[in-house]
Symmetry: C2
Subunit: 599 residues, 2 copies
């Protein structure tokens, strides 16, 4: 027996030694060059870092608002700041208790003091000031912002400056002065091709905040489904949603809005019109154009775009928009306008007669005139709803006015959303020509053409988004000023809650940095180590951002281990409360028993 | 006030009416053609369905093993069957209590009786009989199989036959006779490019069982990392894993094996050699070939393939394989053999001298000879480990013996795994030529070339896998018999736990049906409605299988709502127990208090 015993002891010793003598692997060594710990994404406008390290003790560190500033004295500021301080209190430290090392004897940083110098609005807007500055040195750490929205950006940056080293949370001496390059940094989500359960939208909003994105463009309805539950017209979702469970109630919308507001994110709804409205026709066929002949078409296709010839269409839209405007807070409203099939209008006698009345020729120009007429009526309604609203439209609206030869026909407060890539009218990258034309005509614009995240391909694809600049077109400085930003779009034909977040992130992070950081921060190779850090930071915070090449994160995505037990879980439309209910009842009975006993 | 009240009442009424008058939307109507409820995936060899409906009452329905059969009398059968009956007891019914309708007055089905006619082995193998038959009629429901493995396939089928209708669980009269077309229906996972936390591997095994896949090919280590924790050579993972947390302990491996066994799934490990071994060199550089000159190469690349010239290499591999063979149960072991860089061997004097000794010329033929020599030593070791093991190798091994002009040099019990797609030596689809050559030489083969799921593209891409048939090559009937099956491969350069499951499923389901169902079940259009049903079935069961076009599932993937609370969750290497601990302590104190009070 003795040789076996010796062998056993030897093996145990060897295992123990191996555990203690654990060394950095070659891949880890290689990765240390690939990952830039404690770096900020998106890159700030100006950042200086010293080699002096300050250590943070999670038990003692405090995030504080300067009580003499608007952060406390202005109630609108205070509400946002209080919530943010609580959130970031949790996000600053992530090394699990059991892996933490003490910081006695190290130079420590005990608090961050936040000061807001101006004041706050209830909701963020296109005009919000998001600038902030951070100073970390031996005197302590300060964060200075003009508004709560700037304070949010600064808190995010501060949280990203902290990195882990030998079980300690560390921050280097730092001086940052930062503000965004573009005020409109958006992401479009599509809840019509697939329904997204509410918690996924909320978690996505968190990810947006981690990347300083500030506009959720909610393409909420489309041909396939009408999940928005209108109280004015309940049949829209009652007959147009996939099922009665696949809807967003007014309360759901309010939750999204409040969750977004607290993160400095605007929510802009899109109710696409006059095209992409098939699902509206289930509950309200009267507002759509009937296409002829229908005999050769399947039943479901017989309704086309909105019927521009009927006054009742506009009455309907006005009522709906009044409801929507009351629910959503933003000054802007996306009314679509893309991909309208003129053939259907052309086939309908009522529409034809209307065109004759209006003096529109029966030609492409005439249909462009007709769509121009329609959209102007819609924009007019927006202007008239109780709180004046301005429109955002897809580029076809601009193009149609160009075809009509009447670019002055469209209100200049309208924002043109450029999205087409393969425009047959141009060679090369036509969206650059479109940007030039739109801004030359004096319209503000948002770029999405090169930020379509739904198109996927094998391998590392974020550099293509990263390297596409919204100012990269021929135009004057005044024209460039009219570019208010861009939006990453994730159309949802192939995306639902199963793959929404990993497909979005960190690819949308590339767009985030393009829109926030200075124009010359544009080298994707140089950005890679920060991108790696940002990806793992998101994973650590509960965002399953997909990998960008062989690597690992210190804290891997392991959501399955978070579930009560491993058995495959039926996830129906909402959280199951029964278990918690019984549990609480049981607890309540116990507590009562104790109280009664003691009495 | 009155008009408001009237309006309020009217609105409430309207909402109530809308709720009651909820109608099937046009999209739902369209979808009813697109989804085939209660259909089976993969399609059984023979299935007849009647229009007679039987209703199942979840409170009373029983899954029973026929006690006079091997399902109870054979202890190996019983262990697998008991576990399966418990699992499927949960999977059969999914309509939430609150949505269920009673089945009083309907013709009900009260139980399924399972009979096993032959007996069981502890582990499934290449030779396992997976056939089964099912009969559902007015006499009841029976499932007949020769082995526990067949019983598992039958239970899966039975669970898929049940569909929901108006709140009731329904099954139609059915007669099925089924068995797989190929005995080896595998999926390759790669845990070296990215580490997969254990729960994800387990959940993936569940998904495999739902698709009747029966081989997990575990490409466990590679250049980037060595996560397998060897007790014989702890430095392999101690220095070659990403971190000390990114490892699979022997206990982890045992968990995977047992979880797989209970689902009739074989686990075949791959320890790729002599190439793809860079991570081995961190702990054991002595077994790799040093490449010269190194001056121009980064430090991490100076070690190449295994050193075939040293006897110590073989001693090392023998010890490691003995350990692995004891841990893994399968008769087959994948030893890789792909993508070996001959330049490194060519640069090393020791290897050159060895080649001269062995009489291998200094040419491509000579290096092919050398790799042939090496792999034969490895296969010989496999044959000699306590439980004789057979090898599976990537196709290069076969190709090299062909280059050496000595196809008889490779043991005929070796299985050749065909994977190359773009082979410059052939035009068209070279893997078909390779299949022909390999089988003509008398070797058994597995096809993967057209099942590489890591390559992604925009849109609906499963038909390309579905339509690629392993028998589609020029060869005799005897040659076709040598094709034992195929494997879907998901190389993990761009995949980790954040996107592993949605990228795998339901695309791997296409391969599953190709390998299980008769050859003429090959029309992807015809298969689509069943694919839709299978996708949503997986989602319902906790597998986030991604969508295949605009649609919805009755029960959407909503894992976030399953979490204890919504705050982004730090997921470290294991579940956090602290919360539960405190909770239980609190509960314990309460219970003690009650007990003490009552005493």
């Amino acid at each position: 027996m003795r040789p076996y015993l010796v062998l056993l002891v030897a093996l145990s010793l060897q295992a123990a030694v191996a555990e203690w003598s654990y060394q950095t692997s070659w891949y880890e060594k290689a990765r240390q060059d690939k990952v830039a710990r404690g770096t900020v994404w998106p890159q700030p406008r100006s950042i200086d870092t010293t080699s002096v390290r300050y250590y943070l003790d999670p038990r003692n560190f405090r995030l504080e608002a300067d009580s003499s500033s608007a952060a406390v004295s202005d109630p609108e500021c205070k509400a946002v700041v209080d919530h943010a301080l609580s959130r970031y209190g949790e996000l600053l430290f992530w090394i699990p208790e059991e892996d933490r090392a003490g910081v006695d004897g190290d130079e420590t940083l005990d608090k961050l003091v936040l000061t807001i110098t101006r004041g706050c609005t209830r909701y963020p807007s296109l005009e919000s000031d998001e600038s902030y500055s951070i100073l970390v040195n031996s005197d302590g750490a300060t964060l200075l912002a003009q508004t709560a929205w700037g304070a949010l950006r600064g808190l995010e940056t501060f949280s990203q400056l902290i990195y882990g080293e030998n079980g300690k949370h560390v921050i280097n001496g730092t001086s940052i002065s930062d503000s965004p390059r573009f005020p409109h940094r958006g992401i479009m989500i599509d809840t019509a091709r697939h329904y997204l359960p509410l918690p996924f939208i909320l978690r996505h909003l968190d990810a947006m905040a981690y990347n300083k994105m500030n506009v959720l463009h909610w393409h909420i309805v489309d041909d396939q489904a009408f999940p928005f539950q209108s109280t004015t017209f309940p049949d829209l979702s009652g007959k147009g949603a996939y099922t009665r469970k696949h809807v967003y109630t007014p309360d759901d919308v309010s939750q999204v809005l409040e969750f977004a507001r607290l993160r400095g994110i605007r929510v802009i709804p899109e109710f696409d019109t006059p095209g992409h409205m098939m699902s509206w026709g289930q509950g309200h066929p009267e507002i759509l154009t009937r296409c002829y002949p229908t005999s050769f078409q399947p039943d479901i296709y017989y309704l086309g775009p909105a019927n521009p010839a009927r006054e009742t269409t506009y009455t309907f839209m006005r009522k709906l928009f009044e409801e929507i405007r009351e629910l959503f807070a933003d000054e802007y409203f996306h009314v679509g306008g893309d991909e309208v099939r003129f053939q259907c209008w052309n086939s309908n006698e009522e529409v034809q007669e209307f065109m004759v009345q209006q003096g529109f020729p029966n030609s492409t120009v005439g249909f462009a005139d007709l769509q121009g007429y329609y959209i102007n009526r819609i924009l007019e309604i927006l202007h008239q709803v109780p709180e004046r609203t301005r429109g955002i439209v897809w580029q076809e609206i601009f193009d149609n006015f160009e075809i009509s030869g009447d670019l002055t026909g469209l209100n200049l407060d309208t924002i043109i959303h450029v999205w087409e890539w393969n425009d047959t009218r141009y060679q090369g990258e036509p969206f650059r020509e479109e940007m030039a034309k739109v801004t030359a005509a004096g319209y503000r614009t948002i770029l999405s053409s090169c930020y379509y995240l739904n198109y996927i391909s094998y391998g590392r694809d974020w550099p293509q988004y990263y390297e596409c600049d919204p100012h990269d077109f021929q135009g004057t400085e005044a024209q460039k000023q009219l570019v208010i930003g861009g939006e990453a779009c994730l159309w949802a034909e192939w995306v639902d809650s199963t793959n929404f977040i990993p497909r979005m992130w960190p690819r949308a992070s590339a767009v985030a940095e393009r829109l926030w950081s200075p124009q010359d921060v544009a080298d994707s190779e140089a950005a890679s180590p920060r991108m790696e850090e940002q990806r793992c930071r998101m994973v650590r915070r509960g965002i399953p951002a997909q990998p960008q090449g062989p690597s690992y994160c210190e804290y891997e995505w392991n959501i399955l281990s978070q579930l009560p037990n491993y058995r495959p879980v039926i996830t129906s439309s909402g959280p199951r409360v029964t278990e918690g209910l019984f549990h609480n009842l049981f607890l309540g009975v116990l507590v009562l028993a104790v109280v009664k006993c003691l009495a």
